[in-house]
């Protein structure tokens, strides 16, 4: 059996602008020998809650600020030693347009580094890269140019999917994405979207942004705070408009709207489930969300709900989630809980976990360019 972790990251901090919250601190923690030693020392001081939180931050900094993507990927592989054949969907990130300044290294460097890394040893089949797309990039003067650029990366460099992060300042129904969507739909290419309210969002002037192409009642365009404005971009209702134009498009709403939404059965979570139920090719992954054990029972119920369970994917959001829980712990907590609930319901051990980590990813990842 092949397991798939459908949501991981290995981009290092040099691809993140310094103005993003926490990055300068993390940079200092990881690259400054004195700070890193102090942090590591305190992470070993087992006193009340200090140990775990400092240890996690230290670990996050140590992983995320590794000098190379290979180092970060090796840490990830180490977590799955003894698991047999495990493959990782690696989602790239381009934060150059998020209004937080330029990262140290540009996106082209990230792509080259990843392509070279993947060509080595066993990485080519283990590391499944999703190309990041931001329609606002200057070189994409038309949607066709954007599509051709993506197409070239699939045909030449073996990318297997597309990653989008609307919270960085664009709507998923941006006109420039139409040509790409038409091609992706035709080739069954999977697209993973960021679908949770988080700390990475557009930092520029929200008043200068274009109004949405398809406004909906959930948008609050008078909002002036960036932190709140990101909801307009991430709003799951936006995907109804996308799917109206491209009903067969294969999409994955990453993070399943978020742990808070799942626990309170919130509107975003309900919308995501509605999207999954009404569209054949809509998926959601439990990445990051799974760090909150309070979501596990609901995730189990969803996995065992016909019409939804077949389209839930296992993902962890490595290494972003490391500051909350380490990869092995959050994976095992979910797996053990799902097992416990499976056994209680009279189902075979591991049936739920295998469904999201081994079976559901197969149709999601299958495209004209890749077959798991």
């Amino acid at each position: 059996m092949i397991y798939y972790n459908c949501h991981t990251h290995i981009f290092s901090a040099q691809y993140v602008p310094n103005n993003v919250v926490g990055v300068p601190i993390m940079n200092v923690l990881a690259t400054d020998p004195i700070s890193s030693r102090v942090t590591k020392f305190f992470s070993k001081v087992r006193y009340r809650k200090i140990n775990s939180s400092v240890e996690r931050v230290a670990r996050f900094a140590e992983i995320g600020l590794g000098t190379r993507q290979e180092v970060i990927f090796n840490y990830l592989e180490d977590y799955y030693k003894g698991w047999g054949d495990v493959r990782f969907v690696v989602l790239m990130m381009d934060m150059e347009q998020m209004g937080a300044g330029n990262p140290l290294s540009n996106y082209r460097t990230q792509v080259e580094e990843l392509v070279k890394l993947r060509a080595r040893g066993t990485y080519k089949d283990k590391l499944l890269p999703f190309l990041f797309v931001d329609p606002r990039k200057a070189e994409f003067s038309t949607g066709e140019k954007l599509r051709d650029w993506v197409k070239m990366h699939f045909e030449e460099y073996g990318f297997v999917g597309i990653k989008m992060y609307p919270a960085l300042g664009y709507y998923p129904f941006d006109e420039k994405l139409d040509a790409l969507y038409a091609w992706a739909q035709e080739k069954f290419i999977p697209i993973t979207y960021h679908c949770i309210e988080g700390v990475i969002y557009y930092r520029g002037d929200v008043k200068s942004l274009r109004p949405p192409r398809f406004p909906n009642s959930k948008h609050n365009l008078t909002e002036t705070k960036n932190e709140r404005y990101q909801r307009n971009f991430t709003e799951p209702e936006n995907y109804f408009d996308v799917l109206k134009m491209f009903p067969e498009l294969k999409i994955n709403l990453g993070h399943f709207a978020g742990e808070d939404e799942i626990k309170k059965n919130g509107p975003w979570y309900q919308t995501v489930k509605k999207l999954i139920a009404e569209h054949e090719n809509v998926y959601a992954d439990v990445s990051f969300t799974l760090n909150d054990t309070g979501t596990h029972e609901q995730i189990h119920r969803d996995i065992n709900t016909k019409g939804i369970g077949e389209k839930i994917l296992f993902g962890t959001d490595y290494y972003v989630v490391e500051k909350n829980k380490d990869e092995a712990m959050l994976r095992d907590e979910l797996r053990n809980k799902l097992n416990e609930l499976d056994v209680a319901a009279g189902a075979a051990k591991d049936s739920s976990f295998n469904q999201i980590a081994a079976y559901n990813p197969i149709p999601f990842l299958t495209s004209a360019y890749y077959r798991p």
Binding site: Q14, S36, T67, N106, T109, E112, A119, E156, Y157, Y370
Partner: protein, 362 residues
Amino acid sequence: MNIFIDVAISMAFVFLLFSIMVSGICEMWQMLKRKRAHFLREALEDVFNCRQNKNYAHLLYAHPMIDRLKERKQTYPQYIPSAIFADALIDVIRNDSKLPRFRFDQEKKEFVVLQDAYSVDSTDASGNVLAGTGVVADFTAAVEELKESDLKQMLRTLLLGVTNYDQLKATTARWFDDYMASTTTWYKRYLTRILFISGLVVAIIFNVDAIHLAKSFYKDKLLRERVVDAAIQYASNEANRPATPEAVNFNSAPEKISMDSAVQVNVDAVTAAYRRAELLDIPIGWNIERVVGYKKYPQFTVHSRWLKLPWFAWELLKYIVLSLAGWLITAAALSYGADYWFNMLSKFISIRTAVKPKEEKK
């Protein structure tokens, strides 16, 4: 005349002692912060992080030839030999347009990696193979594919008159040596700044006020003689000569010193320097007498409080302004380093020895 030379000797001796302290602190700071490695990386980022194209500095550091020069996973190399740099740069640039390509084999369900072939070496009119011309052809093609930028212009310049790999490597290594010479100058300037800042911190912590010291040495004959004697004794022993700081060279390995031994050596030097200053009862350190002229805080009575407070404030302000000037002079002096002050001290002592017999004859 002799009195001024004695003051100069006393001042130079104090600066020497505190320079040892400051140099030790700076050396430890550099080692702990791995400043040298970061400075080298920043210097290369300046040239090779090309926003119009890619961050070739990062790709260079990811190249196995350079990556293997670092001590630990999360650090940068402290030095890069120019030959290694040249090999790595040529390889990174010529491969820029030859990224590995991937084809998915639908039957085997696996990716196949395809690598574009490199150019073969050309031949001359008589059919002899011209070694190393293929690499230059690939390098030239890759440079031509870059978007116009300073980096592209620089790489194009490296190619001028170059026909084979050896020439390209030699030109690149020469450029790197020259650039590292400039980087060394910048690094030395940076170190001087750090020495000044550390000197200022030390001057404030230990209240080493050059103006006050000069005044004290000038006025207090006993103190002056005591310090001059100690200085002559100190300078006569060559073993006390501070080690000349290792010349910074970014293209060769620095002297290998373990962190523990470096810390130990520097802590010992700092402690010894401070003890020596303390034993001589040099007017440094903090005491209230120097601030307000009293040995204790002024004992304000209810009646005198309003009269004495403005005076106290004025004295305090005068003291702060004068001290600030004194600390800045000390910091500037300490930034010259212990080696410099040992030499100055020896020169002043030689002058004193030369001047004294003449005065005695008179």
